[in-house]
């Protein structure tokens, strides 16, 4: 690892101030991706601003049908929060399946979506639930937030403070893990929301997480695994690598969607 200056932020405001120090600063949340990348000398920020203990960025609140999750909330908290499990079971179940216990107790929701790894789980939930990403500058809809591989709508220095989701009628997530990394080879998040059905796919897209609108329409007509029967899932635009071809991933999208719907 290269030398780095470490700062611990008290709250989001403090973090935004601290991040102005140094010529190449980065926010650090759980560090589940950034720290290994730095250890491999593939990232060399001058300064790290640790937001994992920022007082206004942790915790889960449920008010009516609105759920707010602080950006520095760990996967383990999301997975075990009783109110959230009841309100958005698909999201809690997704969080329970990220990495291993050590990762789930350090990694955070804000860190995951800011990184926007094309095989990460949370982006599928954010997109599937039409979440709102709250930063220290503005609110961004999930549809506009995830831009491409490891790319988001965040500007330099902009910090995710929380995510807001509206309680869906149904939600569910099914993933097929990559045998080596156990990241999602394909993960499908399905949700029945007030504004209609949403199906978001992670792990497979050449540009990262995406919605399967064809499937959403079919499910809008009738919610059930049979909706998949008439829906062809093509392989164009999907990732292909040593672990699986685009055709295989296309197949897995159908299978995982079916399993998510069956479990909903």
């Amino acid at each position: 690892m290269y030398d780095v200056n470490f700062h611990k932020a008290k709250d989001a405001k403090d973090a935004a101030k601290l991040v102005k120090s140094g010529d190449d600063p980065m926010y650090l949340s759980g560090g589940m991706t950034l720290i290994p990348t730095m250890k491999a000398r593939l990232a060399a920020p001058s300064d790290l601003v640790d937001v994992s203990a920022a007082s206004d960025m942790v915790g889960i609140t449920v008010k009516g049908s609105t759920i707010t999750i602080g950006a520095a909330t760990t996967h383990a908290e999301v997975a075990s929060n009783a109110k959230l499990i009841k309100a958005v079971p698909g999201l809690a179940c997704l969080a329970a399946g990220i990495g291993d216990p050590a990762v789930r107790h350090r990694g955070t929701i804000g860190g995951s979506i800011a990184n926007n790894d094309p095989a990460a789980d949370y982006p599928a939930a954010m997109l599937g639930l039409a979440a709102t990403i709250v930063t220290n500058k503005r609110k961004i809809s999930a549809d506009k937030f995830f831009v491409g591989l490891f790319e988001t709508a965040l500007n330099e220095g902009e910090l995710i403070k929380a995510v807001i989701v509206e309680k869906p009628k149904k939600s569910s997530y099914a993933k097929f893990p990559n045998p080596a990394s156990r990241y999602a080879m394909v993960g499908v998040f399905v949700a029945k929301t007030a504004k209609g059905t949403r199906v978001a796919v992670t792990g497979a897209g050449g540009d990262g997480v995406f919605r399967m609108k064809k499937l959403e329409k079919a499910l809008d007509k009738k919610w059930g695994p049979e909706a998949l029967a008439g829906t062809q899932i093509g392989s164009e635009g999907l990732m292909s690598d040593m672990h699986g071809s685009a055709e295989y991933r296309a197949n897995l999208i159908g299978v995982m969607a079916k399993r998510a719907i069956e479990a909903s």
Binding site: F176, A180, S181, G244
Partner: protein, 787 residues
């Protein structure tokens, strides 16, 4: 007799320190005046080195020195050698290219070391290594053996035209061709054996210290065979003469073959310690381990096996292309020849076998022995072919095997092995019963009702280990003898230290070796300690690999114990005024049979060292050494049955049952043996389902981390059903066969036979990843649709 002797499930005495974090591994050792090394490595698979500029690096904080290959070879450090000469069909010797510990004019694989940086701290060494500027002229590269042999392939070593290292053969080609021509049925197969990365838990490490006052070197290193390391470092690499070099392999966290070899890093650290007059420590990162630890397997083969109309094998013809990587590692040449083709007879009576092997240079990491070394490749080929032939001929796979089993011993195969003992029917019967083969159809139907495909597969393996008579291997090209040595020291207080040339890097020698001493003298194992891994303590030894520590290492201890026993009896007989024939050891005493006369074992020790009352002419002391040279290989064998369930929607395989029946001869500690079988099967399942080293066409390693290289994890593996059905090995005093590699040798074909049985498509290569299995299922479905 002792309840800690042969056959007792004694808990491993070494585990307390391992599981409490008190082990002492090379990286745990800190020498005074210690500096750190980092290596500058090639990012290219094949390139000429145009220039190396280390000026900027030398000026950096903490940097002590930067050295390159020109300086190393200029100081007379020799090239790294392969220690087993193989002769081609045409009588020519193998074409071994030069391998300098630090590359001089050319780099030949990604990770090839170009320069060594020595600095005060590890971080400073790594930072300076990045600052060394190497100008390369890149050259076209090849990663696959077939590409290496293709016309116009880039030439990797000047003295290996067409990248061919050797073209070797065994068996009778004409007789085999004739037999296949006359066969009622011939099964043809293309078979690949995937390349594996060894992944020992402890990465390689070294600390080299040069003492100018005594002109003496000490090397701590992660070695399976420290004496061989010293021999090679001294005789071939000219680092230091043997009596001026001490090699210590302290606790070593797994080897699997990869720590047999002498790598560039140890050589460079020793040399650099002399140049800098500092202790130089290097510990491999996991990335360096993926790039540079010798890989295993990587065979591409064709096979044709002929049968008569009754299902009896009439002949087997095999061609194999073996990928050796960029350089010939220490024992690489022996793996696809004498450790592979000699096992192609399997458990079967086959009159005619012919195999030829082309060994090929490519721009990849060197390939050498990895748990099983050649025998997994042979077993996979033979057992895949047998299962396939049974399917093609509409026979039960167990019955086809039974029709062809060798039943009388000794049995000479057409590929120079002489099987000494075995009961192949017994192992097959035991495995089939334990696996409830009869109930499989019922279970298959149950899976089908749940939408799953269930399959069952056999593997009746045989392997040859405990290598081997020194004169025999010498005649086949080995550069060393393959005996083992031991010394049994009885101390004046009666405690016993056993010095062995075997090396434990996880095997549990401190326990099993002590058990055979406990058995012989009826003493508690707490009174016995095992000393190994230090060339200053143990006179010489060949180390541990090829499942040889039991059959060869313990045989040497048994021989040394014979001598100790004889002398101890003489002393006891003298003191007790009895005949030495009447002396027996019981309960920590030497007793005179049929009387109440006895003396404590410790009193024998004391008598030997006080020497106040010894028989006339007897030398004082009670310490004996022995060398044991095996009379033959040992031949562990058995049957493995794997039962899988495949999810046809995702292609994911779940191993539902895995049954093993092994014949390991005499078993010293069944718990440790079962642990070896469990670990071996885990590695075999890893090869069959998960693990794969992948290079792209330019020779870049794609599977360079655990994000892409799939190690088996607990939830990938079933709970094994492990059984023993043994015949005694006639070749060594304890009747033992090796058990360390059998699991990794026997299991891969059982897994693939089971999956191909489940999905009804035999066209499946290892690793059978979900994506590949799914594609094979689609292939079957579209073939059916086309019918």
């Amino acid at each position: 007799m002792s309840d800690q002797g042969i056959g007792a499930r004694v808990k491993r005495v070494e585990d307390k320190r391992f599981i409490t974090g008190a082990g002492r591994y090379t990286d745990d050792i800190v020498e005074p005046n210690q500096a750190y090394a980092a290596f500058v490595r090639s990012p290219h698979a094949h390139a000429e080195i145009k220039s190396i500029n280390s000026k900027a690096a030398e000026k950096m904080d903490g940097v002590i020195a930067v050295h390159n290959g020109a300086q190393l070879t200029g100081d007379g450090i020799g090239n790294i050698i392969c220690g087993w000469g193989i002769t081609s069909k045409d009588g020519s010797p193998m074409n071994m290219g030069a391998w300098s510990a630090l590359a001089t004019s050319k780099v030949r694989y990604v990770g090839d070391a170009v320069a060594i940086v020595i600095a005060e701290t590890k971080a400073q060494a790594i930072a300076a290594a990045e600052a060394v500027s190497v100008k390369y002229k890149t050259l076209p590269a090849v990663a696959q053996s077939l590409d290496g042999l293709a016309d116009g392939a880039p030439q990797i070593h000047e003295n290996a035209p067409g990248n061919l290292i050797y073209d070797w053969e065994i068996g009778d080609q004409k007789a085999t061709d004739d037999a296949l021509k006359g066969a009622a049925h011939v099964t043809y197969m293309d078979i690949e054996n995937n390349r594996l990365s060894p992944n020992a838990m402890e990465p390689r490490a070294a600390i080299a210290t040069y003492n100018p006052a005594e002109d003496h070197y000490t090397l701590y290193t992660t070695s399976q065979n420290p004496h061989v390391a010293r021999l090679v470092l001294s005789a071939f690499y000219q680092v230091a003469p043997e009596h001026k070099l001490r090699v210590i392999a302290p606790d070593v966290g797994g080897g699997f073959g990869s720590k047999i070899y002498i790598y560039p890093e140890e050589i460079a650290c020793l040399w650099a310690s002399m140049k800098t007059k500092r202790s130089v420590k290097w510990t491999s990162t996991r990335t360096e381990a993926f790039l540079t630890d010798a890989h295993g397997r990587d065979h591409v083969s064709t096979a044709a096996m002929g049968f008569d109309k009754n299902g009896k094998i009439v002949g087997l013809k095999v061609n194999t292309k073996a990928n050796f990587g960029a350089y010939m590692s220490l024992f690489s040449s022996a793996v696809p020849t004498y450790l592979y083709a000699t096992l192609l007879s399997g458990q079967y009576n086959i009159k005619n076998i012919y195999c030829d092997v082309q060994a090929v240079y490519t721009n990849t990491a060197p390939v050498d022995a990895y748990r099983g070394a050649g025998r997994p490749e042979a077993c996979y080929l033979v057992e895949r072919v047998m299962e396939t032939a049974a399917r093609e001929m509409g026979m039960d796979p167990a019955e086809l095997r039974r029709k062809n089993f060798v039943r009388s011993f000794p049995h000479e195969t057409p590929v120079i092995m002489t099987y000494d003992a075995g009961d192949f029917d017994g192992n097959l019967d035991q495995a089939m019963e334990a696996a409830d083969y009869a109930g499989f159809e019922k279970r298959r139907k149950k899976s089908a009702r749940a939408g799953k495909l269930r399959g069952i597969g056999f593997s009746s393996y045989i392997e040859a280990c405990g290598i081997a008579p020194s004169a025999a291997v010498g005649s086949l090209g080995a550069g060393v003898g393959l005996w083992e040595s031991a010394e049994v020291r009885v101390n004046p207080v009666g405690t016993i230290e056993v010095l062995t040339g075997s090396h434990s890097h996880g095997q549990g020698h401190a326990t099993t070796f002590a058990q055979i001493v406990a058995e012989r003298f009826d003493l508690p194992i707490e009174n016995i300690s095992i000393v190994h891994g230090d060339t200053d303590k143990v006179q010489f030894g060949m180390g541990t690999y090829g499942s040889r520590s039991g059959a060869v290492g313990m045989s040497a201890i048994a021989k040394a114990m014979d001598k100790v026993e004889a002398k101890a009896k003489k002393i006891a007989a003298h003191v007790l005024e009895a005949s030495e024939d009447d002396i027996v050891f019981e309960g920590g005493e030497a007793k005179v049979k049929g009387t109440d006369k006895a003396m404590g074992w410790h009193e024998i020790g004391l008598s030997a060292y006080t020497a106040h009352n010894l028989p006339d002419g007897m030398e004082p002391g009670l310490k004996e050494g022995a060398f044991y040279d095996p009379t033959n290989f040992t031949f562990p064998a058995g049957t493995y049955i794997c039962e899988v369930e495949v999810d046809p929607e995702t292609g994911k395989t779940t191993i539902e049952r895995f049954t093993a029946s092994d014949d390991f001869g005499t078993i010293i500690n069944p718990m440790i043996v079962e642990g070896q079988v469990h670990g071996g099967i885990a590695q075999g399942i890893g090869q069959a389902l998960l693990e794969n080293v992948v290079y792209d066409d330019d020779g870049q390693l794609l599977s360079a981390s655990y994000m892409d290289y799939t190690m088996p994890r607990a939830d990938d593996l079933p709970s094994y059903s492990v059984h023993h059905h043994s015949t005694t090995c006639p070749g060594n005093p304890l009747g033992m066969k090796g058990c360390g590699e059998a699991g990794a040798i026997g299991s891969p074909p059982a897994v693939i036979n089971a999956i191909t049985n489940a999905i009804g498509n035999n066209n499946l290569s290892m690793p059978a990843t979900p994506a590949k299995v799914w594609a094979a299922i689609q292939e079957t479905a579209s073939a059916k649709a086309a019918e």
